[in-house]
Amino acid sequence: MLSGKLFNRKNFHDHPRDDRLMTAIKKIAVLTAALLLPLFCFAVNSSAASLKVEDAWIKLAPPTATSHAGYLRLINNSKQALAISHISATGYAHAMLHQTKIVKDKAQMDHLQVLEVPAGAVIALTPGAIHLMLMNPQQPQKVNDQVTITLEFSDGTQQKFVALVQANHE
């Protein structure tokens, strides 16, 4: 039987032809693993690679303000929805995703646990809508300051970008 011959270790090594076969299988396995490794790495970082961040800026706030707001545009060029589950920003104790809503003439701010960016979608984070809430700045803010913001996706991957402090952004 073929199965008996192949999986009987003693018999397998008894034949030089089988040894050559085993060496060939090992080479193919190593080669395959070598070829698949970059693909595996790409898959892990696919979230970050396929999300484009544009026009990222932080609004210059009054010097006494303990929270600042950041705005940007997210473009998901992939064929899969991406979910931002956590954010952090250099120079701030905490950062969150918030959404301002006007409900029955009342302005309310909701904390977004996750922001989903559907496949092929563009989501604009703009004043009076979804925004980055940057809390407890460690230093006074100045125009043209650069703040590095890290987006963390639900699959564990991360993406960093720089946002510029501006008084206004037309």
Binding site: P62, K106, A107, G128
Partner: protein, 226 residues
């Protein structure tokens, strides 16, 4: 002869009908963009708001100005700065326009007395325009003023992991997480130079539109002897 009289009568009737139709059209004014006026004005009640450590702001301080009142809090990173920027722009527009009416006074009332000291409020409002008046008061006084305008507010805070809803007028409990939010009215309220509440601007706001509306309201205003 008969024909002549008939034509004359017809011409008079045509003229009367024409005048009747066109007069209301000529009298039509530009519509208000976002200002909504009350059917009847409401005189401000007795109020005591704190301007700074020594200054008390009462209904008397509204007199002689066109007052625009916005409620908010200085820890508000998105909506309040956006609105105060528009109100600062409106104040600038009003100061650039020559007018024989009363000046515009923009008033920001903080609904967060636990975190917003008068000094902090004034530093905040001064960033948007040096003449914006920043006020606050105790929670019971704030709820009285807010409710007079038909404005509501509430606060959401966490304490030891539990979510608390603190209604308007109640002091913030001790030991809550300091990063709480205040949900507040998105309207801008209008008080006339006789310190009567006359209406409000509904959101979304635009400085030029509000200034246009306010000029229309001012043009119809008959000042009382103060």
């Amino acid at each position: 002869m008969n024909n002549k009289w008939a034509w004359l009568i017809l011409a008079v009737i045509a003229l009367a009908v024409g005048v009747k139709i066109s007069l209301p059209l000529l009298a039509t004014e530009a519509p208000l963009h976002s200002a909504q006026l009350l059917p009847a004005t409401k005189a401000l009640p007795e109020i005591r708001l704190e301007k700074d450590k020594t200054g008390i702001f009462t209904a008397e301080n509204f007199k002689g100005h066109w007052n625009l009142i916005f409620f908010g809090f200085t820890n508000c990173p998105d909506f309040c700065p956006l609105e105060l920027q528009k109100l600062g722009k409106l104040l600038q527009l009003s100061q650039q326009t020559q007018q024989a009416n009363f000046p515009v006074q923009v008033i920001f009332i903080s609904l967060d007395p636990e975190r917003d000291s008068p000094e902090k409020i004034n530093a905040y409002t001064g960033f948007f325009h040096p003449q914006i008046v920043g006020l606050s008061s105790s929670n019971p006084e704030l709820v009285k003023v807010a409710h007079f305008f038909g404005s509501d507010y509430s606060r959401k805070a966490t304490k030891a992991g539990a979510l608390l809803n603190i209604p308007a007028g109640i002091d913030m409990p001790d030991n809550v997480d300091n990063n709480y939010q205040v949900d507040h009215s998105a309207r801008i309220y209008i008080v006339n130079p006789e310190s009567s509440y006359i209406g409000s601007f509904a959101p979304p706001h635009n400085a030029e539109h509000m200034w246009g509306d306010l000029q229309l309201i001012m043009s119809k205003h008959k000042p009382a002897v103060l």
